[in-house]
């Protein structure tokens, strides 16, 4: 995974609550066996009409938002299906950071496994930030300092230190867990005795 670097970008604002992963990437694009190439289908049904033509009014179809790296959204972003295709599509489009008052749990976790930073911030701040979207002005995300910089303001956001470290260092979770192999072996030894039906069933 790539290390997360600071971002400067004009944010794109989607003023809608409960944006589900079906909206982010509809099912017809889940037939792929690859992680890449989903960006063009991001928000497909909001972005393209029934003939596959771009819908002018949709924000991500217009410059400068078509190259936004930051997405502002309503609460409970990413609810519904567990499809990791949702963060893959965001990333492939170029979105590296989502800012919302809240997220669905599975989507939130999936972001960190793909180097996307999902920031949780008060609705009030979202309203301030969407002015920057409207005015096409750049805001800045500094992960190390856990802050959003806009105008002359600096707003701090909370983040689990372990998750922050993973993004900053681009860590491979599996590699780290495999280092705990001894603990896993010991656990399995223990349940082979205490719960013999779990691993071998005869």
């Amino acid at each position: 995974m790539e290390k997360f670097k600071n971002i400067k970008s004009i944010p794109a604002y989607l003023a809608l609550m409960n944006i589900d992963t079906d909206m982010i990437i509809p099912k017809q694009f889940l037939k792929t066996i690859k992680r890449t190439g989903l960006g063009k289908s991001l928000f497909y049904e909001m972005r393209y009409d029934e003939n596959g033509k771009k819908i002018k009014e949709f924000i991500l179809n217009n410059e400068p938002y078509s190259s936004s790296k930051i997405l502002l959204t309503g609460k409970n972003f990413g609810c519904g299906s567990s499809r990791e295709h949702a963060p893959w599509a965001l990333l492939d489009f170029g979105i590296k950071c989502v800012i919302s008052p809240s997220y669905a749990d599975i989507f939130y976790n999936n972001c960190f496994n793909n180097g996307i930073l999902p920031i949780i911030i008060d609705e009030k701040i979202i309203q301030e930030l969407q002015e920057y979207c409207k005015r096409k002005e750049i805001i800045e995300i500094n992960l190390n300092k856990q802050s959003i910089l806009y105008g002359n303001k600096v707003i701090k956001f909370n983040l689990d230190p372990a998750k922050k470290k993973r993004l900053l260092e681009g860590l491979d979770d599996i590699g780290i867990s495999l280092e705990k192999n001894t603990s896993i072996d010991e656990y399995e030894k223990k349940i082979t005795i205490n719960k013999p039906w779990i691993i071998k069933n005869d």
Partner: protein, 466 residues
């Protein structure tokens, strides 16, 4: 110290814990399907990693498979590639697969319990959010992303932080015509689609105790629609009875040992819940959804709500958008909403008991000439059982199509999908925009309510069907 059911299962699966609470949790059972696994296997191969415990995984194609005649294989190229890829990966890594034409093939969350692969007190994961279903047996079961699928394949563990405990008591008893589906829709309507975010929900109370295990699966299945990754119901005699003699259930001595352990799986008296609510069974009516979020519920006797009466601005905007998408007017009677399509199936309501309830109501009747209706059994074994009981004939004679098992129109990855503006009464779990096909309009209902809608050609009260 008193512990909740969730605390007990969590503590029993700790492999390693860091001071900040980051935990390596052991995974006892891993369910795999064709849509969310190919990238996990690909990455595993790229990094030259092995599958640690192939015997703890079970794979099945379900999301993408056609529900029509399968004898000639899958015609859609991309779907075929995904199903072929699953087969190749399972072969390469030694994972058991119920392939497309295996009689045990079916929706991953239906075949797990059916085979006894699902068991009380286990941690079960799958790259699918409706993994919550298995919580009905007192297992901690939740959906994961593809990177986590890879993590489980490689290590048989997951990195987790503990959720909070939430208990929902459904007290008393249910009025006639009200089912498990209405119970969970009521709960989602009450706490909202993000009401359970950050929690594991334990369902308890007299109503839950009285539900059959299959009905409990319907409740736990839709826990994710309330934002909670997992729902739990303490196992009881009904649960233990269910697992007797399932192909993958513990055998002989192990059965006795397992049973002793399973009987310890309940929340202790005095255990602490971070949140707790009560719902009275008598207050629940047959429900339908009117909007594009599972929290948009109304009694069948009600009316479409008026967004103008909503005080929250964001919610008001969402309601207007929903009504526009759904083609509905505020204040119209729910029972005046005409229906084009009926879908009975999915991991929510595709089990034998669901089909029995539907068939019983349908016996000797015909569906409206204005509707197209289909039944998609949840698994090959459910289908066979239904056919043994003659349920297929009841459905076919009434005008339903009788299909092959799979996820089908619940997410419309195969050919079973709605056309734009087509309106469906569906026993599935999500009424999101475009979920059942671009522009398609979904009303979530119980199997009985689906039958009522099929007969009347409009959303109708199951209590009026005799």
């Amino acid at each position: 110290m008193s512990k909740t059911l969730y605390d007990k299962i969590w503590d029993d699966h700790l492999v390693h814990q860091q001071p900040d609470g980051t935990t390596l949790l052991y995974v006892d059972r891993h369910l795999i399907h064709e849509v969310t696994s190919p990238q996990a296997f690909e990455s595993l191969k790229m990094n030259k990693r092995k599958v640690r415990r192939p015997e703890l995984a079970l794979a099945v194609p379900d999301h993408n498979v056609p529900t029509t005649d399968r004898s000639k294989g899958i015609t859609d190229k991309e779907s075929k590639l995904q199903v072929d890829t699953l087969r190749d990966n399972c072969k390469e890594f030694g994972i058991q697969l119920f392939d497309v034409n295996d009689k045990r093939q079916g929706i991953v969350h239906i075949i797990g319990p059916e085979q006894g692969f699902t068991q009380p007190g286990t941690v079960i994961v799958c790259g699918d959010s409706h993994t919550a279903t298995h919580g009905a047996f007192g297992s901690l079961a939740f959906g994961i992303g593809t990177s986590e699928v890879e993590h489980v394949l490689a290590t048989q563990t997951l990195i987790q932080k503990k959720s909070k405990n939430f208990r929902i008591n459904v007290n008393g008893s249910l009025p006639a015509g009200v089912t498990a589906k209405d119970v969970i829709l009521k709960i989602i309507g009450t706490i909202g689609t993000a009401g359970g975010t950050g929690y594991v929900i334990e369902f308890s109370g007299e109503v839950i105790r009285k539900l059959s295990v299959e009905q409990r699966m319907t409740v736990c299945n839709m826990t994710i629609e309330a934002g909670a990754r997992a729902g739990l119901i303490a196992p009881d005699e009904k649960t233990f009875e269910y697992f007797k003699n399932r192909p993958m259930s513990p055998k002989k001595n192990n059965w006795e040992k397992a049973l002793t352990y399973w009987k310890t799986l309940y929340s202790d008296d005095g255990s602490r819940f971070d949140k707790e609510i009560n719902i009275e069974g008598k207050d629940i009516e047959p429900l339908v959804t009117w909007g594009t979020s599972p929290q948009d519920v109304s009694p069948i006797t009600g009316r479409v709500p008026d967004p103008e009466l909503e005080t929250d601005k964001e919610r008001k905007t969402a309601m207007y958008r929903s009504l526009k998408y759904m083609g509905l007017k505020p204040n119209m009677k729910i029972s005046d909403i005409k229906i084009d399509t009926i879908f009975i199936g999915s991991c929510t309501n595709g089990r034998i008991e669901d089909l029995r309830v539907a068939a019983e109501l349908l016996k000797g009747k015909k569906i409206s000439k204005y509707v197209t209706a289909m039944v998609v059994p949840g698994s090959g074994l459910v289908k066979k059982q239904a056919e043994n009981e003659g349920l297929d004939k009841i459905f076919i004679e009434a005008g339903f199509q009788w299909r092959e098992p799979g996820c089908s129109m619940c997410l419309a990855m195969n050919d079973d999908k709605l056309k734009s503006k087509e309106r469906c009464a569906s026993t599935s779990n999500r009424n999101f925009e475009g979920r059942q096909g671009r522009g398609g309009r979904t009303h979530l209902v119980s199997p009985g309510m689906a039958v009522a809608a099929a007969i009347q050609g409009r959303l109708s009260d199951v209590r009026e069907i005799n």
